[in-house]
């Protein structure tokens, strides 16, 4: 048996604010989607963080991460590893430089902006800010990045490479992803409706989340993390969901599928993703309650896996499966609810799918009082 690893602290920042606000926002509150920043196309609803985070870092992605991490500021960084999950890193400002360059204008930006594409800057920025002296690295497997980061962190701890691990996920809205998903026809022009029979696309969001991992038993333990690849298509999941099923089974090794109480699904709201995921979950987690949180937070890309694991842990701690906003008429067989439901959860799973035919699953075991 591998040494136990637990979540010693968690937090997040989304369009609904901190963890408390976000958990409440999963079920009620203001409509989360709007037209976004000034550069964003007005016809694509996105979920923007409204907190003023600009003073924390000139790169919005890193500022979001630091704002989420404020409750941990002052943490002893000795032997602390940072595993940072992101998709586009600080690309938002790098886009300005590239726009000036391709239009033949003098590039009025410095080295810092030209380097904003370098994904590792996130781990460095957060590591310097919090004084972490352990290994720092970035995982960038697109929309599964955050889930993968937990597995890397757990292995670093078990191998004795650090004393504690700070798993951080962050992504800011930027033109690359907003216009990119628009170019693929994957972004809704109406509303994100995960698992709804009338769903027509995703809504991008921005945000950040964190989890502090430590060795030893705790109230919420990391029971397993696994990834598997479809080897099928770069942007479409394998229709049978075999890769996702294999990832869930690997992450929950030692448990029976029927023991899974709750799955926080990837549930982007695209017709293809949600259909494949529904089929896979019916096999890999029969009987589990399903929550689809992107109808509230938007799809926060590289941050999604961390935010959703944090929300799953909070759901297990409170004994409440949250509602799935945007889903009025669920796909047949998917046990989502449009109101929060009280339910004891001992084994919870969070899953994400990504470009590259990538599937990731994370399992949490709750040992606290129900």
């Amino acid at each position: 048996m591998p040494a136990p690893v637990h979540l010693a602290a968690t937090g997040c920042l989304t369009t609904f604010g901190d963890l408390e606000g976000t958990f409440a926002g999963l079920s009620e509150g203001a409509w989360p989607f709007g037209s976004g920043p000034g550069w964003a196309p007005g016809d694509l609803p996105v979920a923007q963080v409204h907190a003023d985070v600009g003073a924390l870092d000139r790169h919005r992605t890193f500022a979001l991460a630091k704002a989420a991490l404020l409750p941990l500021y002052g943490l002893d960084g000795t032997g602390l590893a940072v595993v940072f999950a992101t998709t586009t890193s600080a690309m938002l400002l790098g886009e300005d430089a590239i726009e000036q360059h391709v239009q033949g204008q003098p590039v009025e930006v410095g080295e810092d902006l030209l380097c904003s594409h370098l994904a590792h800057r996130g781990a460095e920025s957060v590591g310097d800010w919090i004084g972490a002296t352990g290994p720092r690295l970035v995982v960038s497997t697109a929309c599964t990045s955050g889930t993968v980061a937990f597995g890397i962190g757990a292995d670093l701890l078990r191998a004795g490479r650090c004393r504690r691990v700070l798993v951080v996920g962050a992504d800011a809205l930027c033109r690359t992803t907003v216009y990119g998903f628009r170019s693929l026809g994957a972004h809704t022009r109406t509303a994100c409706r995960p698992f709804d029979v009338d769903r027509d696309g995703m809504s991008i969001g921005e945000g950040a989340g964190f989890a502090l991992l430590e060795l030893g038993e705790g109230e919420t333990e990391l029971a397993g993390v696994a990834t598997r690849t479809d080897a099928h298509h770069l942007t479409a999941p394998e229709p049978g969901g075999e890769g996702l099923i294999r990832a869930i089974r690997a992450a929950t090794r030692g448990f029976e599928p029927g023991e899974i109480d709750h799955v926080n699904a990837h549930a982007t709201g695209t017709p293809t993703n949600d259909g494949v995921e529904a089929r896979a979950l019916a096999v890999a987690a029969p009987g589990a309650w399903i929550s689809a949180t992107k109808g509230a937070t938007g799809h926060t890309l590289g941050a999604a896996g961390v935010i959703e694991a944090v929300l799953l842990a909070e759901s297990m701690r409170r004994g409440i499966v949250p509602a799935s906003r945007g889903c009025q008429n669920p796909i047949e067989g998917v046990a989502v609810a449009n109101v929060p439901r009280a339910r004891v959860q001992r084994l919870g799973v969070s899953v994400n799918l990504a470009f590259g035919g990538h599937n990731a699953a994370l399992a949490l075991r709750f040992r606290g009082a129900a």
């Binding site: 998709t87 590239i98 370098l118 690295l137 497997t141 628009r182 770069l234 990538h358």
Partner: protein, 242 residues
Amino acid sequence: MKATVLEHYAFSWPLSAPQEIPRPAAVEAGAWRRFSRVARLAAAAAAPVLDPAELDRDELPMFFGTGLGEYSSSYGFLKSLFTRGPAMASPLLFQNSVHNAAAGHLSIALGLRGPSETLCAGALTTLRTFERALCWLEANSGFALVVLADDVNGESADGWRLGGMMGEPGEGGAAFLLAAADPRAEATLELLPRSEHAMAASSRRAAPFFCTADAQAVSNALFAGGEHRFDYPGCTLVASRL
């Protein structure tokens, strides 16, 4: 942490002397056309080390490290957006712009359906990717495929030149097939802790921005024989030929 090295292959060249990347026989021509340059570099390195017949490609983990990521595809996508407008922004370049696009292409072309992780750590990318693979092997045993690739070419290099970020741009690919312990192996990789004094000294060294320079050096050391030590902040990577 220590692992044996079953196979390794690396290549690199300076931007001033670019070379054509040979398409591995294992990759179909149609797929090759859709590959980004990073994916081509990665595939050209990975295909030759995947020969051992007993490898279970449904479970073989791949750890892909890249210092620069898919900068060229990101640049190309944004160029299409800024010059031709949103309606003409290229979906192909967008899907290739994510850092794990190369790992995805490799997975499809080579039939790799196991765990996959794409890692970035700037100048320390080679170290961190090896560290991750060694951690994995310690926890899971079996085999691990480490692939490293970075491209710097054409227009994408302009940004780096403008910023004065890269004294000598280059590109390349490298791959290492590791095993927790395999009696057939003639080489090992080991990660050792370093003293504080050594950490301070190593942190002052100038490092290249592309990760394959380090990977090429490790592969060269394994071919050369003997024991070679690569000092990094906090640790030393030891490459030994038995």
